[in-house]
């Protein structure tokens, strides 16, 4: 199973590269931030797989859990910042 996990790790890396290249090449804040969203999910899986390859699952699962939560919190914070710092209500007034 060790080799299979390493192949999955390689596949995850190969899946991240085109997303990064394509979205960073397109430019603009929104495309950059979409790239961060996409790659943060890949990095969460990346951490889990490294834990299984390194056979220190418990440590890496904790890191992946905190990374997943931080990925979500960062998207909320940036969205609030982009929409005028949250002084508008839901209807944008």
């Amino acid at each position: 199973m060790q080799i299979f996990f390493e192949l999955c790790l390689l596949a995850t890396i190969l899946l991240s590269i085109p997303i990064l290249v394509m979205l960073l090449k397109k430019g603009g804040f929104y495309n950059h931030f979409a790239a961060i969203l996409a790659v943060s999910t890949n990095v969460t899986l990346f951490l889990l797989l490294i834990g299984f390859i390194d056979s220190r699952h418990d440590m890496y699962v904790d890191i992946a859990l905190s990374f997943a939560v931080l990925g979500f919190v960062s998207s909320v914070i940036v969205a609030k910042f982009m929409s005028g710092g949250g002084d508008k209500d839901d209807d944008g007034n």
Binding site: A38, L48, S75
Partner: protein, 110 residues
């Protein structure tokens, strides 16, 4: 014997998860504008990491680390759609138009 069955299902779920992540990556590259690209990210990535976490949970077994892997799955499957929806709404409010519709309208006006 039990370990073989467990490895079999782990492989099935991990390959399915990676398939959905590949579909999401192709969607990000091929879709025409920002909103549809974010749609591909929100759905494909969440489903992909969901399947992968189930596979790793089967391999790990029902112990504290396994439950944490399920927790990672729950957080990731919530974070994807909610995060992309928030960014979609901000982008739409800030006036980011759908590119494909702009091209169709331009064709009709000429």
């Amino acid at each position: 014997m039990m370990m073989e069955i467990r490895c079999f299902f782990t492989v099935i779920f991990l390959v399915t998860g990676l398939f959905f992540m590949t579909v999401s990556t192709v969607g990000v590259i091929r879709f025409p504008d920002f909103f549809s690209r974010l749609h591909a990210i929100g759905l494909g990535q969440s489903l992909g990491i969901g399947f992968c976490c189930i596979g790793l949970f089967i391999y790990q077994g029902f112990n504290i680390t396994g439950i944490k892997i399920l927790l990672v799955m729950v957080v990731s499957m919530m974070a994807g759609p909610i995060g992309t929806h928030i960014i979609d709404r901000v982008a739409f409010r800030e006036g980011l138009k759908k590119e494909s519709r702009m091209k169709e309208q331009k064709g009709r006006n000429d």
